[in-house]
């Protein structure tokens, strides 16, 4: 160990080296890592930052902004539907509201918020200094917000998507939908697909190659399994929906014939492509959230997750089976009996792996010593909501039942129990749980209890009656309904519940804003949790770890209280220093043996500029300004060249012989 300050300039003969191992205190004392990793302040720093913690927080905040927008859309709809024959909204306005509501929640909130948590947490959980591709990470955020604004631009000018979030042809085709509504949606979704795909690739490579030494595959935190599964799935299925939207755009704008029957087109092709993506997508937006519950519940039950291996395996199994059930969204399209039976069977079987986690959570609470905090309440209550949503899904897996209930409010009840129950409630729990790590402050527990109960009561008041509303035959996606159908009271209760739920969400926002300023200062590990992110200060320094930890078990911070996993113990305060510039350790995929020192890129504007070029490209396509699209493509090319040009700092160029 040397006592001199390490320089940050990479020497030209630094082709290989034996990385230094030192204690965290000595390294922190040197002060070099702070200088190497900090983002410049000001506007350039804002647009060029590649810090995963920054990007993760931006994702979460932006996703919440979209959540609130989607919630307001829902509130306006509930005003319209609170009583029969209302005329608060015209049919066209209602169509745009419910479509934009669905698109916002499913695409602009549900996955991005989980990406945000994973982005912030993964390097900290893995003992690493950043994601595998920091600039790609920044790109995935910029493209997300740009695509979201692209879609909302249509809504803002009264040309919002108006055919539902799964906009079936031929209603979405030009003869029936001549405005620009569907074009905003189609091109916007292709644009958004870029963000999802590059984000997924980043997660896959990060978990495979950038874990701390000793974090073998069986020692991965459960959150890695949830997001990894979702990411692999996204890489495989996002092209299906992007292609479907591209074909739709071509049919609409260039008179091709993918979907129109008169020219041998296949309307059902749209549904197959869409749902082959769509079903794995709904697992992609719940499996990482379930993993967050699996991370948080053990902390508040003061014991490791029961059945960890089974939960990890069932996560993967659920997604695998999830590729084989998409036709259950198409039971009422007139398909022959054989596929109906096959997909019905698969949709019933999938309840088995997806329920493993439920039993694991219940067992963890039962066998643990629970501490009731707001985070715990959100994590525990979602179990019940999951079961209700799962049961309504299981019911409609049966074809005859689905033939009665499809396109009724029963389905609306189902989707909201699974989406709010298995995504929103865990996310709220995640906010209370990880807010201290992200900001250095605790959230207010008293306000948190109010937040939870108002949300919980409001949610159930709103959506539980919808099961009855659907069983009584009220179709979904109708802008109003006749009185005397037996739906009046149910709709009124639902609308009231919706507003109560909204008030609960409002309390969450208040708590966040209040706690940012006045929250009690949190230390590194206020909850006494087990995983590596709780071993660094709150909020973490820009470099995450002064030295890369060495991991010997699945719960490194609980090793004093648990039976040992092997002969060694985790070592947090001593490890690889890696301060010859921005560096982190690359390890083998299965056993996490160090095999390369990864040079990490500096902050860069090229992801942002690439996004601007991409936005110009898509705007050009939308309005048929081909020169604009060409300019956009050219800007993208230049940004990519700047981004990828081999840099000496990143050891990407051959060293010049002295």
């Amino acid at each position: 160990m040397t006592a001199t300050v390490t320089t940050t300039v990479t020497s030209t003969s630094d082709i290989e080296r034996t990385p230094e191992i030192a204690s965290a205190d000595i390294v922190t004392g040197r002060g070099a890592l702070e200088r190497i990793w900090e983002t410049a302040p000001g506007i350039i720093g804002f647009f060029s930052s590649v810090d995963h913690k920054e990007i993760g927080k931006r994702y979460i905040v932006t996703a919440f902004a979209f959540l609130i927008a989607g919630g307001i859309e829902a509130m306006v709809m509930r005003v319209q539907l609170a009583r029969p024959n209302a005329h608060v909204l015209t049919p066209e306005q209602y169509n745009q509201l419910f479509s934009t509501h669905g698109i916002t929640m499913i695409f602009l909130y549900a996955l991005p918020v989980l990406s945000g948590f994973s982005n912030f947490l993964w390097p900290l959980m893995f003992g690493s200094r950043d994601m595998a591709f920091p600039r790609l990470n920044a790109l995935s955020y910029w493209v997300f917000i740009a695509a979201g604004l692209f879609i909302y631009a249509g809504f803002a000018i009264g040309a919002g998507p108006n055919d539902g979030w799964f906009n079936y042809v031929p209603l979405a085709s030009l003869p029936y939908n001549p405005g620009m509504n569907m074009d905003f949606y189609a091109l916007g979704m292709i644009f958004l697909g870029v963000s999802t795909s590059v984000g997924a690739a980043n997660f896959v490579v990060t978990v495979m190659r950038t874990r701390a030494p000793g974090m073998s595959i069986d020692r991965l935190p459960i959150m890695a399994w949830g997001t990894l599964t979702a990411s692999v799935a996204n890489l495989l299925v996002v092209p299906a929906v992007s292609l479907a939207f591209f074909m739709l755009w071509l049919d609409r704008q260039f008179n091709t014939h993918f979907f129109d029957v008169a020219n041998n087109g296949q309307p059902l092709l749209w549904q197959h492509l869409f749902w082959f993506f769509g079903h794995p997508w709904v697992y992609a937006i719940v499996l990482p959230a379930m993993a967050m519950v699996s991370e948080g519940l053990p902390t508040f039950c003061r014991r490791p997750l029961v059945g960890f291996n089974l939960v990890a395996l069932s996560t993967v199994a659920t997604m695998l089976l999830g590729f084989g059930v998409w036709v259950h969204h198409m039971f009422a399209t007139g398909l022959p009996n054989l596929p109906l039976a096959v997909f019905s069977g698969a949709s019933i079987i999938i309840t088995i792996p997806s329920a493993v986690a439920v039993f694991a959570w219940v067992a963890t609470i039962w066998l643990g010593r629970p501490v009731i905090t707001t985070a715990f309440l959100f994590f525990a209550s979602m179990i019940g909501l999951f079961v209700i949503g799962g049961v309504s899904g299981f019911m409609t897996a049966s074809v005859p039942v689905d033939w009665q209930l499809t396109d009724t409010y029963f389905i609306v009840a189902h989707i909201h129990y699974v989406l709010i129950g298995i995504n929103v409630f865990p996310v709220c729990g995640g906010i209370y749980y990880w807010f201290p790590k992200m900001t250095g402050r605790m959230m207010n527990e008293r306000l948190g209890r109010w937040n939870f109960w108002v949300m919980f009561i409001g949610f159930n008041l709103c959506f539980l009656p919808m099961h009855w509303t659907g069983l009584r035959g009220m179709p979904r996606r109708v802008y109003t309904y006749a009185d005397g159908m037996g739906w009046d009271t149910l709709n009124l209760i639902t609308s009231i519940g919706g507003f109560v739920f909204a008030a609960g969400v409002f309390l969450l926002v208040i708590n966040v804003l209040h706690s940012l300023r006045h929250g009690r200062i949190a230390g590194a590990n206020p909850w006494g949790a087990a995983t590596l992110e709780w071993s660094v200060p709150s909020p973490p320094p820009p470099y995450n770890f002064a030295v890369i930890p060495q991991v010997a078990s699945r719960n490194p911070l609980w090793e004093d209280h648990l039976p040992p996993d092997g002969p060694a113990r985790s070592v947090i305060r001593e490890g690889l220093v890696l301060d010859h510039g921005k560096e982190t350790i690359g390890t083998t995929p299965l056993d996490a043996v160090p095999n390369i020192i990864l040079k990490m890129p500096a902050d860069s504007l090229s992801p942002f500029i690439l996004t601007i070029g991409m936005a110009a490209f898509f705007v050009g396509l939308l309005v048929h300004l081909w020169w604009l699209a060409a300019v956009g493509a050219f800007v993208m090319l230049v940004a990519l060249l700047i981004w990828l040009w081999p840099e000496r700092e990143l050891a990407e160029r051959a060293e010049i012989a002295p």
């Binding site: 630094d14 595998a132 790609l136 690739a201 092209p239 092997g566 390369i596």
Partner: protein
């Protein structure tokens, strides 16, 4: 499983920065190949989903398209992959000449592929608007062509970097990454070719 905790005295020398297959770029390009392969699976699925609903009358003139241009074009693309492999071997052997020559020949052959493909398009008597087959044919071959053109841009950039002397046997990741992408483009073409030019014989 592993109790590999680091012992300072036994710490080996580790490579600094990307080396061929150990860097993260190698994994990244495979993720790209995975997702783009999925795209072509869905494109070809769209073809077969439609084809099984009709008889041979669905095809233009009721028979499989002529291979007069497509088969030589396939050979050109295969040779181009071979050239790229040759260039990649060159950089790993430390021969800048072989490196540059291999990539250069791959680019030329790739450009010939594009030209022949466009020639074939101009000779067709149907358009993307002619019916569903036309829409599928031009979209699928068009997507492939776009990937070839993107690949040519990538190869050109890597050629410039090679000529500038950026690479040596230890620092050659971009060449390997580019060649993975180029081989992928070639393999995709084999499936596209088999679908449009060969499968009609098996189906009808």
């Amino acid at each position: 499983m592993s109790d590999a905790i680091l012992i300072p005295e036994e710490m080996p020398r580790l490579p600094v920065g990307p080396t061929a297959r150990r860097g993260v770029g190698w994994w990244g390009v495979w993720c790209l190949v995975m997702t783009e392969s999925a795209l072509f699976v869905y494109l070809l699925f769209s073809y077969y989903y439609s084809a099984v609903q009709f008889d041979a009358g669905w095809l233009p003139h009721g028979h499989a398209p002529s291979m007069r241009l497509a088969l030589p074009d396939t050979i050109v693309l295969l040779l181009s992959s071979l050239a790229m492999w040759f260039g990649d071997r060159g950089v790993r052997r430390g021969s800048r000449v072989q490196n540059v020559a291999g990539i250069g020949i791959a680019i030329i052959l790739g450009a010939i592929f594009v030209a022949v493909q466009l020639l074939e398009w101009s000779g067709k008597d149907f358009t993307p608007r002619s019916g569903e087959y036309g829409s599928l044919y031009y979209t699928i071959t068009g997507f492939h062509l776009a990937h070839v053109i993107a690949g040519l841009v990538v190869l050109l950039v890597v050629l410039v970097w090679s000529a500038l002397g950026y690479f040596n046997p230890r620092r050659s990741a971009p060449v390997l990454i580019a060649s993975v992408y180029w081989h992928f483009v070639d393999v995709v073409w084999l499936f596209v070719f088999a679908t449009f030019y060969l499968s009609p014989y098996a189906m009808w």
